[in-house]
């Protein structure tokens, strides 16, 4: 016996209430409420489908084989490349590692540092995003990589259970219908001088387990959703203004970090090439006011040209080939059918570039 002197006699009290009935009523009401919310979500145009989570990305990173064809980059590489078509064109199914709203450099570097990897990397370059010295675009990539490196057995199991639910329930849209996102819709006036991050565009894509992504139909058609997405790009692509009092050293550090990205990219490319791997940079179509904005802010003669020169990587700039010029419904990405056609037309160019 071990408790002769401790005499632990603590017992939690249980409030006197009809708990059995309460539990049943609560479960019933919760089920009814959930069903009602599901019906509401479907009536708003949402459909069951996966969320593009860090876990889904980590699944794909784990699927990378030493000789894989890997796609890295931003959302344009995600929306505009059709994996089936690319598989037909290149003879091997690529692994989709492009990430929405991200600077893909950390992912590119991660592949370069993977001693086993000697495959092919198709890299989307949006100059202003590839060169960012910090902030959310870089954090998004780092977050995905961290998940890949640290996720546990329990997290993997939870991810697979979650995917099953997402494939059956329309309200499970983490970018749009979580409590956090719903609260953001509450209109409360802001202070006049507030510096607030722009809202990300709402739900406008579907993604498969292999992260093959297609623009949602509602966004392809002209209408309120397409307008909302369009209007989101320029604030999102506008770098934050630094306050007047930002120390000069901080600005200098950021400029140095941006400048260093050229040499860092070249070093990463060399590592991949040293193992027999190949790299190609692609500038994907964009249109409307967003194109004007990007052309003015990051003209082709600037970052893109210098990046190709310093890395000696072959580049495909969509405007060089009339067959690759497409109109983007919401200025930044291609519709699903256009993505298939674009990928079909891009295939020969990729082959040529990779054979160089």
């Amino acid at each position: 016996m071990h408790s002769s002197t401790s005499n632990f006699d603590f017992q939690r009290t249980i409030p006197e209430l009809p708990w059995r009935g309460l539990l049943l009523a609560t479960l019933l009401l919760t089920a009814i409420g959930t069903a009602a919310w599901e019906i509401r979500a479907r009536s708003m145009g949402y459909a069951p489908g996966l969320n593009d989570t860090s876990d889904l990305w980590a699944d794909r990173r784990e699927a990378v084989q030493p000789d894989s064809i890997v796609i890295v980059g931003d959302s344009r590489a995600l929306f505009d490349l059709d994996l089936d078509t690319l598989e037909q064109g290149l003879g091997k199914r690529p692994v989709q590692l492009a990430l929405v709203g991200s600077c893909a450099y950390p992912i590119f570097e991660n592949l370069a540092n993977d001693e086993t990897f000697h495959g092919t990397v198709i890299t989307s370059i949006i100059p202003g995003v590839w060169m960012v010295p910090g902030g959310p675009p870089l954090e998004n990539s780092k977050k995905a990589l961290k998940r890949y490196h640290t996720r546990t057995v329990a997290q993997k199991a939870g991810h697979h259970l979650g995917m099953w639910l997402e494939e059956h329930l329309a309200f499970m849209r983490q970018d749009d219908l979580t409590l956090d996102q719903l609260l953001k819709r509450v209109a409360v006036p802001n202070r006049a001088d507030s510096y607030l991050p722009p809202r990300l565009p709402p739900y406008f894509s579907t993604i498969a387990r292999d992260r093959d992504t297609k623009m949602a139909e509602a966004c392809v058609r002209p209408g309120p959703l397409q307008d909302r997405v369009k209007q989101g790009w320029i604030p999102l692509f506008t770098p934050p203004k630094f306050p007047d009092y930002t120390p000069k050293e901080v600005l200098e550090e950021m400029a140095q970090a941006t400048e260093a990205r050229f040499s860092e990219t070249a070093a990463a490319v060399n590592k991949i090439r040293a193992r027999g791997g190949k790299v190609v940079f692609v500038r994907f179509p964009h249109s409307g006011d967003l194109k004007k904005f990007e052309d003015a802010g990051t003209p082709r003669a600037g970052i893109w040209t210098r990046l190709l020169a310093e890395t000696k990587v072959p580049g495909i700039y969509y405007e060089d080939f009339p067959e690759l010029i497409f109109d983007c419904p919401e200025w930044s990405h291609l519709s699903g059918p256009d993505a298939v056609e674009f990928t079909k037309r891009l295939g020969p160019h990729l082959k040529t570039a990779l054979d160089k």
């Binding site: 016996m1 071990h2 408790s3 002769s4 002197t5 401790s6 632990f8 603590f10 017992q11 939690r12 009290t13 249980i14 409030p15 006197e16 209430l17 009809p18 708990w19 059995r20 009935g21 309460l22 539990l23 009523a25 609560t26 009401l29 919760t30 409420g33 959930t34 919310w37 546990t152 057995v153 329990a154 997290q155 199991a157 939870g158 259970l161 979650g162 639910l165 499970m172 983490q174 979580t178 409590l179 956090d180 719903l182 609260l183 953001k184 509450v186 209109a187 409360v188 006036p189 802001n190 202070r191 001088d193 507030s194 510096y195 607030l196 306050p243 007047d244 009092y245 930002t246 901080v250």
Partner: protein
């Protein structure tokens, strides 16, 4: 495995199903032990071996302490304390010690560059070390007898509801519950599930959804923010850490109750604390009583004269701060609490018998003052460095002439509403208990509240974060 994950929902359902379908008490305990090690091993399997090794060592040392003649009992206790604290020191404080040694030697003109220890911190190590250590300390003090069952002791330390983030359940409180199967208790399962729902609501809705993004924005902002934003961020963190940790404890208590085990409260409405000694009677009670019983009292407690007692309080809170993390910012957090406890101790002595202290306006004013100082101390707890803490404190004091407004009107309103409701609830409940309060409510109100909590949890879609206290 996180409580706020689908994996845990399935895991818990399976454990519950297996546990209550087994007839043999021994078989049930075996199941719980295996489940607890799976729960822990799901993070990093090798660390389950570490947990097993340290627990087994304390089991053996507990028996040696009990069997040893009085003059040599202390040796075995010292062995247990040394083994436990060495393990904690290596995994948690190794790099901290090396860095500080390097700094001290540099002050003396000695250039020393120690290698960085590439050590991965086992999750919950601070908690299970204290679970296990409490056993040998209690056997030494005669507060409990050594158990003959290694299985029971392994279960006492690894019991999954409280394993990784507390409450710090002492072996003396858990082992007696292993003697016999739980006695029938009406509505235990339903009340346990209600507590788990409440804890989950606190964690995923209040902490992770309503408060964490706002405190993260403010504490993570690289340049100065305006005074309003600074205060909002700090108040948000104050609420976040309460709901996060209290939510975990409430889940743990509920899960344990579903399995027939009774764990004590870890939080008792701390935002209604009047003074710091009251705060520590309400906040992380299992830690504060651990430090009191095993450190403060052995140092002499308050029976050693005012100056020594004040020193003891500061020393205990210094170590309490260090327990939370291997950084000087945690030490400063602990020291602020220690100094406030010491000042209060002196103040109580000077105003002994004064009735004005018990009037409502004075209590409210002292409650507010306590809250403000607690919030200021949280800045050191949460900030990544002293310069970051200094910048935020400067903004809070209005001493930084420039700064950005980084929070939206909705975020400020959200923090304000949650904080006012939190305060109101704690003040109303400060002299009662959750159970007593709920017993007075009509069933329809409890049912509606329960439904709303579950609905809000479902709306968050399980996008919550890890519990803050896991890192400790």
């Amino acid at each position: 495995m996180l409580f706020n994950s689908l994996t845990f929902v399935v895991f818990f359902a399976l454990v519950m199903g297996g546990y209550w379908s087994l007839q043999s008490w021994g078989a049930r305990k075996n199941l719980l032990l295996v489940a607890s090690y799976i729960f822990y091993g799901a993070w990093n399997p090798p660390f389950a071996l570490l947990l097993f090794a340290t627990t087994s060592l304390d089991y053996w040392l507990g028996a040696r302490i009990a069997a040893a003649p009085p003059e040599s009992r202390k040796i075995w206790l010292v062995a247990s304390v040394t083994a436990n604290l060495s393990m904690l020191g290596f995994f948690k404080y190794g790099n901290f010690l090396l860095e500080n040694t390097k700094w001290l030697l540099a002050q003396a003109g000695v250039a020393y560059s120690p290698p960085h220890l590439d050590v991965f911190l086992p999750i919950g190590i601070s908690f299970y070390t204290f679970h296990s250590l409490s056993y040998t300390l209690d056997v030494y003090r005669g507060a409990t007898q050594p158990t003959r069952s290694l299985r029971d002791f392994l279960l006492a330390v690894s019991f999954f509801p409280q394993l990784v983030a507390g409450p710090i359940v002492r072996a003396a409180d858990f082992l007696p519950q292993c003697d016999a199967p739980p006695t029938p208790l009406k509505n235990r399962l339903q009340w346990g599930l209600f507590l788990m729902s409440l804890g989950m609501f606190q964690k995923v809705v209040l902490a992770d959804t309503l408060l964490a993004p706002i405190s993260d924005s403010v504490f993570g902002h690289p340049s100065p923010v305006l005074t309003l934003d600074a205060w909002t961020g700090v108040i948000a963190f104050s609420g976040q850490i309460f709901f996060d940790f209290s939510g975990y404890s409430t889940c743990a208590i509920g899960a344990a109750l579903c399995l027939g085990f009774h764990l004590k409260d870890n939080f008792l409405f701390p935002f209604a604390a009047v003074g710091f000694s009251d705060f520590w009677r309400r906040w992380h009670i299992s830690l504060s009583t651990f430090l009191r019983d095993y450190l403060y009292f052995p140092l002499g407690g308050s029976r050693v004269g005012a100056v020594r007692a004040a020193f003891n309080l500061v020393l205990v809170m210094f170590l309490g701060g260090l327990w939370h993390g291997a950084a000087w910012t945690f030490v400063v957090w602990g020291l602020i609490h220690g100094i406030c406890l010491a000042v209060e101790h002196v103040f109580r002595g000077l105003t002994k018998g004064a009735t004005w202290k018990e009037t409502l306006p004075v209590k409210l004013a002292l409650c507010l003052l306590t809250y403000l100082i607690v919030c200021i101390a949280w800045v050191f707890f949460r900030a990544s460095s002293f310069p970051a803490a200094g910048m935020l404190l400067g903004a809070m004091a209005g001493k930084i002439p420039v700064g950005q407004a980084i929070l939206s009107g909705r975020e400020i309103l959200q923090v304000g509403l949650v904080t006012v409701l939190l305060w109101f609830a704690h003040w109303r409940l400060r002299d009662t208990s959750l159970e007593a309060s709920i017993a007075r409510k009509p069933a329809w109100l409890v049912g509606t509240t329960w439904t709303l909590m579950l609905g809000a949890i479902i709306l968050t879609q399980g996008s919550g974060n890890a519990f803050i206290y896991f890192q400790f």
